[in-house]
């Protein structure tokens, strides 16, 4: 089933679009279930209660920052730790700024009470699918929201069995479970490769982060390294 895009420029919502959005998201779902379960398993290992893990998946709903939070978990149960966590979370998810900026021409025609809640459902794959649909002339905002809600339910549901399995593993290092977060990050980096020139900021980010990690305790290396790479990217002219 496909939904024919309506004529005109204004965005709109439809029930059929919600279903279609979820259908377009289907190819990514197995991967999402695996990562949701991996998050649950790691959360159990790091000493979160099941309720805390489920709350984090449902309210935060951003895999990369959730994995980073688990890495930091033992350090954050102080006010200072939570401030650091907030800054690291913002840094890791600053990429959403560019993603939702790109949604303005499409979602901008909706009333604010519809567009702003819709932004909660943004995920990397959901955004990509919706932008592809929009580039072909589609204007149905429910494509983004339908995919985002389907991912959200799966993300929460997959956390629970992952948590229960993870709680049974007594030695996570033996099964390599402790490297899930960094491997997940590396795997995200590979499709971003656009040649050596575009990777210069990454190298700067990595070098600065290594330096900061060596001299400053805590998790500042993520913030300082990422911002150094980002600023470098802003000053490198692409040709």
């Amino acid at each position: 089933m496909t939904v024919a895009p309506k004529e005109g420029r204004a965005a709109y919502f439809s029930l059929a679009g919600l279903v279609e959005g979820a259908r377009l998201a289907a190819p990514v779902m197995p991967g999402m279930v695996i990562f949701g379960a991996a998050f649950g398993a790691l959360a159990a290992q790091k000493g979160l209660t099941l309720l805390e893990a489920v709350l984090m998946s449902s309210l935060v709903y951003a895999g990369a920052s959730q994995f980073v939070a688990l890495e930091m978990w033992s350090d954050i149960l102080t006010l200072g730790g939570i401030v650091t966590l907030g800054l690291v979370t913002a840094t890791v998810n600053m990429r959403f700024i560019l993603m939702t900026a790109a949604l303005r021409p499409w979602f901008g025609s909706l009333p604010a009470w519809q567009s702003y809640p819709s932004l909660f459902t943004i995920t990397d794959p959901g955004w990509l699918i919706a932008m592809h649909y929009h580039s072909k002339g589609g204007r149905d905002a429910s494509i983004l929201v339908g995919g985002g809600l389907a991912f959200w339910l799966l993300w929460i549901a997959s956390c629970v069995p992952g948590y229960l399995l993870g709680a049974m593993v007594t030695d996570p290092k033996r099964f390599g479970l402790d490297v899930i977060m960094p491997t997940f990050f590396v795997v995200m980096l590979v499709p971003m490769w656009r040649g050596a020139r575009a990777a210069i900021p990454w190298a700067i980010a990595g070098a600065v982060a290594l330096l900061v990690a060596a001299i400053v305790p805590g998790w500042w290396f993520i913030i300082v390294g990422a911002i150094a790479g980002s600023v470098a990217g802003g000053f490198i002219d692409e040709r």
Binding site: L103, M181, F184, P191, M192, I227, A232, G233
Partner: protein, 102 residues
């Protein structure tokens, strides 16, 4: 089912920061256009975050973690499948440790 108050606060802070990031780009575009420089900075950001997070963790994690990350990157470059990439990384870490390397 229980939750620690500090953990709840941490989750609430994370949720707020995330929603602010999700709303910020959309909000900003209604008021000022993103400059080319800002756009390039944001484009360089995702890869920079990955590099800044992974390299220090790999350096701290020792040889097993480094081999695991290399295996994950190789599997991902070979097949382009993110699940396979993570599975390769986790399996490599388990194998290397089974061989007695920390």
């Amino acid at each position: 089912m229980s939750a620690d108050p500090m953990a709840l606060l941490a989750i609430f802070v994370m949720a707020t920061m995330n929603y602010l990031m999700r709303a910020a780009g959309f909000w900003v575009m209604a008021h000022v256009p993103l400059t080319l420089r800002m756009r390039r900075m944001l484009e360089a950001l995702p890869g920079s975050i990955v590099a800044a997070t992974v390299l220090p963790i790999a350096a701290k994690g020792g040889l097993a973690a480094t081999i695991a990350l290399a295996a994950a990157a190789a599997a991902m470059a070979w097949r382009g499948n993110s699940f396979l990439g993570v599975a390769a990384g986790v399996a490599a870490a388990a194998l290397v440790r089974a061989a007695g390397i920390p």
